[in-house]
């Protein structure tokens, strides 16, 4: 390496080699598929949008997000913090701020351009779709360049970076979509998008120079008096009654407020649509469904931070000595996390349940909700309708909580290879398995009937795996004395009771002619979380006592 440019490029390559290798493999698969199809002389009739989406759009979209994180140094920075996320260690290198901003931007925008051009050239596209060559590459490069500039800028307040970046990127997207809507030609699109990269470069250079000389405004002092007022509250000065309560407070302060905050930010946008589409009941119903799915959907993203055992923004996945040296058992540390997530889920749902009736009333769309409830009562009868409503609500609340905690057993292990491997496996499975659904639907009744006949066996195998895994986890928990016998027995009894209650409800609600009771029993066993949550203390213990 004879130049700073080569050294910076080497760092990106060395640090993210596995991601880049995976991307290269994906391009190879695309190229091979295309070559095989063309060699056989088959006409390419890729008319199934879902298959195309999951074979091309999902991997490319994932790579796009990955490149955003890589080239902004986003993996090691605190996006919500005030400070620039540009690595401070690089500020002492004997290069100009222009070079510090310019080289990562050049590599990032080039990578984005290569991503699009390779996809355009190598992927099998649906017939009749003439995807443009240049401007999507420019759009991707512009989004990356502006994200870099915004990520490297120091801000006056925490969280300001996220708000400004989202607004800026949305405005770029809106301009691009408007241009597409009005069928702008490729040269017009290029003319619209090309100036973004140099403009973003100047912004990034300013950002790096500001961060380098520690020139960041601080508006936090303006709000410092708020902190002093809350310090006067008696609750803030009380002592915690137990270590478990103190740890639950720690977890709540660390991660618990993220989900309610995200829901709180999204709800006004979603519910404001009710005012726009108040005259279209179908859209009102769809908006309400989207609102109800907001907490579980957002929980997927929050789970990534909840299940981290190290501080946010840290490269390491290991538990910090500050937490590892707490005189608490690993089971108690996990229990605190579970309590904080329960509180977080309930707070989020409280927001949703208060906001929906309020928005329905203010927008004058209450009748849609009332009509829907009336129709359900007519079909199922009052008791069943109430039970279905409550069960749906409980299921959504549980689903939100489950999303928050189901990856704890991976994150708490503190092993980078396990965390990164699980993300890779999940994305790969998603990419490979989702096209199967349209394939099954296309291949008609025969395939569905075969699947339906095999469903009890599939479920039975899954139940066997779940019970075996649960038994192994229980034995390990007992052997290394992470949980007492009494706690294990009480936990098992609670799980049994939950399964029985769900089974009873399903038998009462669903016709057993169509859904045999053994099938419902299998569903109930699989639906109630057991293994992944009970494996979390084991994972933490593995991390804590390496």
């Amino acid at each position: 390496m004879r130049s700073p440019a080569a050294a910076i490029a080497w760092e990106f390559r060395r640090r993210h080699r596995w991601g880049l290798i995976a991307f290269a493999c994906y391009l190879l698969v695309l190229a091979t598929s295309k070559l095989l199809l063309l060699e056989r002389g088959q006409s390419v009739t890729f008319d199934d949008e879902q298959s195309f989406a999951f074979a091309v759009v999902v991997p490319v979209g994932t790579t796009f997000m990955y490149f955003l994180a890589v080239f902004t140094f986003g993996f090691a920075g605190d996006l919500a913090g005030r400070r620039s996320i540009y690595p401070a260690r690089m500020f002492t290198l004997p290069v100009t701020s222009g070079a510090l901003a310019g080289w990562p931007m050049l590599y990032g925008t080039s990578a984005m351009a290569v991503l699009w051009l390779a996809t355009r050239f190598l992927a099998v596209w649906p017939s009749g779709l003439d995807a443009p060559w240049i401007w999507p590459a420019l759009l991707a490069a512009a989004i990356l360049a502006w994200t870099q500039a915004m990520a490297w800028m120091p801000y006056a307040l925490p969280g300001l970076r996220v708000i400004i970046t989202v607004l800026l990127l949305t405005s770029i997207d809106v301009v691009a979509f408007l241009a597409i809507y009005y069928e702008a030609s490729e040269p017009v699109m290029v003319a619209l998008l090309a100036p973004h990269v140099p403009l973003a470069y100047f912004a990034a250079r300013f950002a790096v120079a500001s961060a380098r000389r520690g020139d960041a405004p601080d508006w936090l002092q303006i709000f410092a008096w708020l902190g002093r007022i809350t310090d006067l509250l008696p609750r803030r000065r009380d002592h915690f009654p137990s270590p478990a309560r103190a740890q639950a407070w720690f977890e709540w302060r660390r991660h618990g407020r993220s989900l309610p905050a995200l829901v709180c930010i999204l709800l006004p946008f979603e519910l404001s649509l009710l005012f726009l589409f108040r005259d279209t009941p179908v859209l009102v119903a769809e908006i309400l469904i989207a609102v109800l799915f907001t907490p579980p959907f957002m929980a997927i993203f929050v789970a990534a931070t909840v299940s981290r055992s190290s501080p946010d923004g840290s490269d390491s996945h290991e538990l910090t000595p500050f937490i590892a040296a707490r005189p608490l058992t690993s089971a108690s540390l996990i229990a605190a996390k579970l309590k904080a997530t329960i509180r977080s889920t309930l707070a989020s749902w409280l927001l949703v349940l208060v906001a929906i009736p309020l928005a329905l009333r203010l927008s004058g769309t209450s009748s849609v909700g009332v009509d829907g409830a009336r129709r359900l009562i007519e079909i199922a009868g009052t008791p069943r309708a109430v039970a279905i409503g409550l069960l749906s609500l409980v299921a959504l609340v549980l689903c939100t909580w489950k999303q928050l905690v189901q990856s704890l057993y991976i994150g708490m292990s503190g092993r980078a290879w396990l965390v990164k491997g699980s993300v890779f496996v999940t994305l790969s499975l998603l990419t490979l398995s989702v096209p199967l659904v349209p394939w099954v639907i296309r291949n008609g009744r025969e395939a569905i009937a075969t699947l339906w006949n095999a469903l009890p066996w599939i479920l039975a195998v899954l139940v066997c795996i779940k019970i075996s895994a649960a038994a192994w986890v229980a034995i390990r928990l007992h052997d290394i004395r992470l949980l007492s016998d009494r706690t294990l027995v009480i936990g098992a009894l609670c799980w049994d009771a939950a399964v029985l209650a769900l089974y009873g409800l399903l038998v009462w609600l669903l016709p057993t002619m169509i859904f045999p009771s053994y099938l419902l029993a299998l569903v109930a066993i699989l639906a109630i979380p057991l293994v992944r949550i009970s494996a979390a203390p084991l994972a933490l213990s593995w991390n804590r006592h390496r």
């Binding site: 040296a325 707490r326 690993s330 006592h545 390496r546």
Partner: protein, 301 residues
């Protein structure tokens, strides 16, 4: 002084191909101030992490207060005050929140003492940890490690990179801890003058092995620095039993020798050389002699 607070027996730990600790055994008596010295990467932090139960013994055993810190972390950790080299206090907490949070874990927490320490260390209770200087963070860490008067105080490189005033606070805390009913202190450092000031027992670790472990007085009394003037200039010093390290050039060479001076004096007479200066070796010189590479390899006898 008979009861051992820490008992490590034949402890071995490998990280991949690297052996971090090799058959380490030590016993730490109650009421002692135990200095753990060694070069960076020698294995000090690895040993401390085993004591805290943050690393599991691959082979051998670790007992703290007679308990296995991995099997029974609550009983062990509730009696230990720990100040980490990494200083990983949560930056989002205010100082008063850190105190409020930490006190709930230790039934013996002394509010009066905690407040006294906070005032001594000049820590503003409403300041966030992330806004404290490095020295202030170390003081905050020390406060929560001391305020419950732990039976065992473990300090892992507590003063590395800190200014002399903070270092003085830390040493003062160690001395106060000893004064308080003879509690036990284990602290690792490569600042040997600090170790010399407070430790009454020193263990030197080199490349994962214990190079030397003895009371500080014994170590100092049993090592001498002898400067010898040879009749002719020499490229390499002669090898003599008991000499750990030679340093010098031409005619004048200085030896760090262990044990009695009989063999060295006899050899000096044999070489027709003379002793220019002789004194007790400093801990620094003893450490370099045991842990460092030989400054000049000796001739074969």
């Amino acid at each position: 002084m008979s009861e051992s607070v820490i008992n490590v027996s034949e402890l071995t730990r490998r990280f991949g191909a690297k052996t971090a600790l090799a058959s380490v055994s030590l016993s730490m008596p109650r009421g002692a101030v135990y200095g753990l010295v060694g070069a960076n990467g020698a294995g000090k932090t690895t040993l401390i992490k085993h004591v805290l139960g943050l690393l599991r013994a691959e082979s051998g055993s670790v007992r703290v207060f007679g308990l296995d810190p991995v099997a029974d972390p609550v009983s062990v950790l509730s009696r230990i005050g720990y100040l980490s080299e990494e200083n990983d206090l949560p930056g989002w907490m205010r100082v008063n929140e850190l105190i409020r949070y930490s006190r709930s874990f230790y039934p013996a927490w002394d509010d009066v003492y905690a407040e006294e320490l906070r005032q001594t260390f000049a820590l503003d209770p409403t300041t966030k940890i992330r806004n404290l200087s490095r020295g202030q963070k170390a003081r905050a860490g020390l406060l929560i490690a001391l305020a419950y008067r732990p039976e065992l105080l473990v300090l892992d490189e507590p003063s590395s990179g800190l200014d002399p005033i903070v270092r003085r606070d830390i040493l003062g805390a160690i001395i106060r801890t000893i004064a308080n009913e003879g509690r036990t202190v284990l602290f690792s450092s490569h600042l040997l003058e600090e170790v010399e000031q407070v430790a009454d027992h020193v263990t030197m670790i080199s490349r994962g092995r214990i190079a030397l472990s003895a009371p500080l007085d014994v170590i100092k009394e049993s090592h001498r620095c002898v400067t010898v003037r040879f009749p002719e200039p020499r490229l390499r010093p002669p090898a003599v039993a008991g000499v750990l390290r030679w340093e010098g050039q031409d005619q004048e060479w200085t030896a760090v020798a262990r044990g009695g001076s009989g063999e060295l004096e006899a050899a000096i007479v044999g070489w027709k050389a003379r002793i220019v200066a002789e004194r007790f070796a400093s801990l620094d010189e003893v450490f370099v002699a045991h842990a460092g590479e030989a400054a000049a390899p000796a001739e074969d006898v």
